[in-house]
Symmetry: C2
Subunit: 183 residues, 2 copies
DNA sequence: GTCATATATAGGACAAGTCAAATATAAGCA
DNA sequence: TGCTTATATTTGACTTGTCCTATATATGAC
């Protein structure tokens, strides 16, 4: 149940509409916490109910009124409290590993193909990660806080390290399957 | 939607009841695919409906009748087909990273505490992994197939590598936060 | 003596998130 | 002319999985 707190985190930087929040998610933490648009709006409703945000309705013609959400003092307090609390455990599910676990049922080329596809996805992910610092520079200037930027960079570093480790695993797995064949 | 296929994978080794399947999950792939008991029974019902397994009811006194599930030829075919198919993407969600992303709002000791707790959990996980090979030896003897055992080992290797990478990240993050303080 | 554990299945309630559609209009592009 | 994209929110249906409870009894631990 981290989504409400991610929303509070963004609203703590600046008041925003649900629509703008969706963009904030998509251009920053999407890689480790994708957020569905419908889910954001429902969360906003819940946060309002709890008194952690307030809504400022800005009338518009042609379009639905903008509902700009502002974090309250109670919301800020709740955010800080939550941030200092131990993280929820990760979902350990790795769909590929089910296939690998039962891959003894598969001819070696098919097992290798599975791993090659996976490795290709990981390489693509690394390239995506490599392009992030440029985009992030824009936000870094806007926020003017090296401390914030430091922690943002940590999350990217996590993604790079884990992806590299997975890639190395896949590459060695492929080599080992080939060795298996030779014997 | 991998659970039905994991169930087929186990039933392909041997016919089993839902209860035995639950134990099979818990003593093997739980680390990358935990399975809820209720979910297993519901999946079994669905697999039966699709004709991928058949039920053999073994009457018992005192206890509910055993319902032993057998994989069918159609089920075996479906399993092989699925195994050769590209893996679903992983859920990228890492709850800790939301806290880290917004940790600029937190005093450094609290950010470090967060990472220490995380690192401790990772170390405990590595110890659990270290104990797996002994338990696995029992299954390896039972199945008498070095090829199957090779793929089982691959899944463990994945867990170890990824956990180590996460741990290295956390340890370096802690060092970097301490450096931040000194400046 | 009581409590946990093992055997064995089933169903209801609920949480989180996904997907798609509805509503309304302007701007830019081919 | 028509298609896509941007702006902005809401709702409904659905999926996957979790948690808890119910039912029944035997055995071993403390």
């Amino acid at each position: 149940m981290s989504l409400p707190y991610a929303v509070l985190g963004f609203l703590n930087y600046a008041p925003m509409t649900g629509y703008e929040l969706k963009k904030a998610f998509d251009t920053s933490i999407r890689h480790f916490w994708p957020a569905d648009q419908a889910q954001i709006y429902r969360t906003l409703k819940e946060l309002t109910r709890r008194g952690w945000v307030t809504v400022e309705v800005v009338p518009q013609e042609d379009r639905p009124n903008r509902k700009v959400y502002h974090i309250t003092d109670a919301g800020r307090e709740e955010l800080r409290r939550w941030l200092g609390t131990p993280a929820d455990p990760e979902d350990p599910r790795v769909p590929l590993l089910i296939r690998i676990f039962f891959a003894g049922q598969l001819p070696s080329e098919k097992a290798i193909a599975l791993l090659e596809t996976y490795a290709a996805a990981l390489r693509a992910r690394l390239e995506t990660y490599a392009r992030i610092p440029q985009r992030a520079a824009h936000y870094a200037e806007a926020i003017q806080s090296p401390r914030e930027v430091f922690f943002w960079a940590l999350t990217l570093d996590y993604g790079i390290r884990l992806t590299r480790a997975a890639l190395e695993w896949a590459e060695e797995a492929i080599r080992n399957i080939r060795n298996l064949e030779k014997q």
